[in-house]
């Protein structure tokens, strides 16, 4: 089977989840859709089990922090359909106050550590996750270091400030 065209893929998704799945772009041919946390489990399950799609491979699961948006945390899934060699990217945006999303580890075993990593760095809480602990950072850490407000270096240091470089 050849690659599934993006418009066909999007059509299938919008037929099934009318209004809940919105295309947000296709940079470099990789279809990106946005959905919400109410239907994310259904979307992932549909993509995995549909006979024509078969996105059986969870390539990657991570998050992004956009402090200027109302919904600051974006959880990003990359799926791969090995039989058709098609990839898709799915995003769900969450607010900091309600940073909960259903776990994908019930669909893929491999999501377990990826979700722990995402929790560790962004504080996204995956509801239903069997063992949601920090994974790379120390257990008693109190912050979520990949969030944008977390400084990389000593904030009092001024020799690297952008205004010295005309930026």
């Amino acid at each position: 089977m050849g690659k599934i065209a993006n418009d066909i893929l999007l059509q299938k998704l919008t037929d099934k989840f009318a209004g809940q799945v919105v295309e947000t772009g296709a940079d470099f041919g990789l279809l990106t859709v946005e959905t919400n946390k109410e239907v994310i489990t259904d979307v992932l399950t549909f993509l995995k089990t549909d006979a024509a799609l078969q996105f059986i491979f969870l390539t990657d699961l991570t998050a992004v922090h956009y402090p200027d948006q109302e919904k600051q945390i974006g959880v990003v899934y990359h799926l791969h359909s090995l039989t058709t060699n098609t990839r898709i990217r799915i995003k769900v945006f969450l607010t900091l106050e309600d940073c909960h999303i259903p776990t994908a580890s019930t669909i893929w075993d491999g999501a377990n550590w990826m979700e722990r990593e995402t929790y560790d760095f962004f504080g996204v809480i995956f509801d239903g996750h069997p063992d949601l602990r920090r994974i790379l950072n120390v257990d008693d850490m109190t912050v979520f270091p990949m969030r944008k407000e977390f400084p990389l270096e000593d904030p009092n240091r001024i020799d690297k400030k952008d205004y010295f470089f005309g930026r």
Binding site: F28, F57, W108, W113, L136, N137, F150
Partner: protein, 403 residues
């Protein structure tokens, strides 16, 4: 998942001993800790603790210009740094829509395949050590050294290579480098053949590895395995073949697969991949001869650092040098996912750029991290000694595990 019996809480024996395997046990080849519940020699359950060498690369990358991120990628899988370097360059080039000249693609293919061989030499050599055969490891190690000498000729360093630049290579391969590559292609096959003769039908080795830690295709896919260990289960997923990058579509090679995903199959798949890599390198050398010999980078002055002589003597070069180093070059707003076939599996770079001098967000899809997560569950019911060789055959590299 296992052929071995799995012990449950209903077992008559209720007391188990706890064994801390790692973080620095010599048998684990890296900083991995597994707290195991043991029933004699059998593992009842295990918990993996990782993160001992976490260096926050993703955070650091958000504060560095693109070309300064290459040295960070070196330190992911440090057994095959060039693949990581090339993967990163290609990600940025994809974002910037830079087309590489064919010759650069072929040069990259050569260096990536050499890195793959170097990585597989270590993995299969160490697997031999763990089953009690030191000879193969020492014998093969010499040829990893030869590969490192090739790196040294090309970029000056050996382990963490920082090889190539965004837009090509920092300098052309010299004649010595080509000679060394050709010499390697002549010297290594007999050695690999002998290595295979030593192991493939060796009764002790086969008894120790066959049927050990066998993984079904369904489990491997569910755990998002990729690379040689996924192919050992019979799934022919190889990024080089499925989504060719760096002109891999021009090459004629096979994707070796195994049958039942046990340690023995993984060993065979890696050995066969070394043969295929040599085939690819040989084809690449022949193809390079047909390309103009002075091209080693694309014509993208806004992103490719000019040579120092030009910076000192030429106005444009000086301007570009300044702009690149200070991060003054505009980059597009883009979201890129680019994957390369690393020695351990699909090494992905998920890059979100907001037009600034450094990525807005960079995530590494690290195969070792994802492959390793099945280790504790699959060790249940396994003998401790089998769990050790299972770890060797997964080829988990601590740098890539923890990023």
């Amino acid at each position: 998942m296992q052929n071995h019996p799995v012990y449950t809480d209903n077992d008559p024996q209720t007391e188990y001993s706890t064994l801390n395997l790692g973080p620095t046990h010599p048998a684990t080849h890296g900083v991995f800790q597994n707290v195991l519940q043991m029933d004699g020699e059998r593992i009842v359950s295990g918990v993996s603790t990782i993160g001992y060498i976490h260096r926050a690369f993703e955070k650091i990358a958000e504060h560095r210009p693109f070309y300064q991120i290459t040295p960070l990628t070196d330190r992911l899988n440090y057994c095959s740094s060039p693949i990581n370097n090339m993967g990163w360059h290609m990600t940025v080039e994809k974002m910037l829509n830079i087309q590489m000249p064919k010759r650069v693609d072929y040069m990259r293919v050569i260096i990536m395949e050499l890195a793959r061989i170097a990585d597989h030499i270590i993995c299969n050599g160490v697997l031999g050590v763990d089953t009690g055969a030191f000879t193969g490891f020492l014998y093969m190690m010499e040829y990893r050294e030869e590969i490192y000498e090739i790196y040294e000729e090309i970029c000056g360093s050996r382990l963490t290579t920082n090889i190539g630049r965004i837009g090509g290579f920092e300098r052309n391969f010299n004649k010595i480098a080509f000679d060394k590559i050709r010499k390697f292609l002549v010297k290594f096959p007999p050695v690999l053949r002998e290595f295979e003769a030593l192991f493939n039908r060796n009764r002790i080795f086969v008894d120790r590895t066959k049927g050990v830690a066998a993984v079904t295709q369904a489990d491997a896919l569910s755990y998002s395995w990729s690379g040689p260990i996924l192919r050992a289960t019979g799934v022919d997923y190889d990024v080089r073949a499925m989504e060719p990058y760096s002109s891999y579509e021009d090459f004629d090679f096979e994707v070796p697969v195994g049958e039942n995903g046990d340690v023995y199959n993984r060993f065979l798949v890696r050995n066969e991949e070394m043969w295929q890599s040599m085939r690819i390198i040989e084809q690449a050398l022949n193809k390079i001869e047909k390309e103009p010999s002075d091209i080693f980078h694309a014509d993208v002055p806004a992103f490719y650092l000019p040579p120092k002589e030009e910076v000192y003597n030429n106005m444009e070069a000086l301007i570009y040098h300044f702009k690149i180093v200070m991060g003054e070059v505009d980059t597009p707003n883009a979201e890129v996912y680019h994957a390369v076939e690393g020695a351990n599996g699909e090494l992905g770079f998920y890059l979100i750029n907001d037009g600034g001098r450094s990525p807005y967000r960079l995530h590494f899809r690290r195969p070792s991290f994802i492959n390793y997560q099945m280790y504790a569950p699959m060790s249940r019911g396994m003998l401790l000694s089998d769990a050790i060789i299972n770890m060797s055959s997964l080829n988990v590299i601590a740098g890539e595990l923890d990023a």
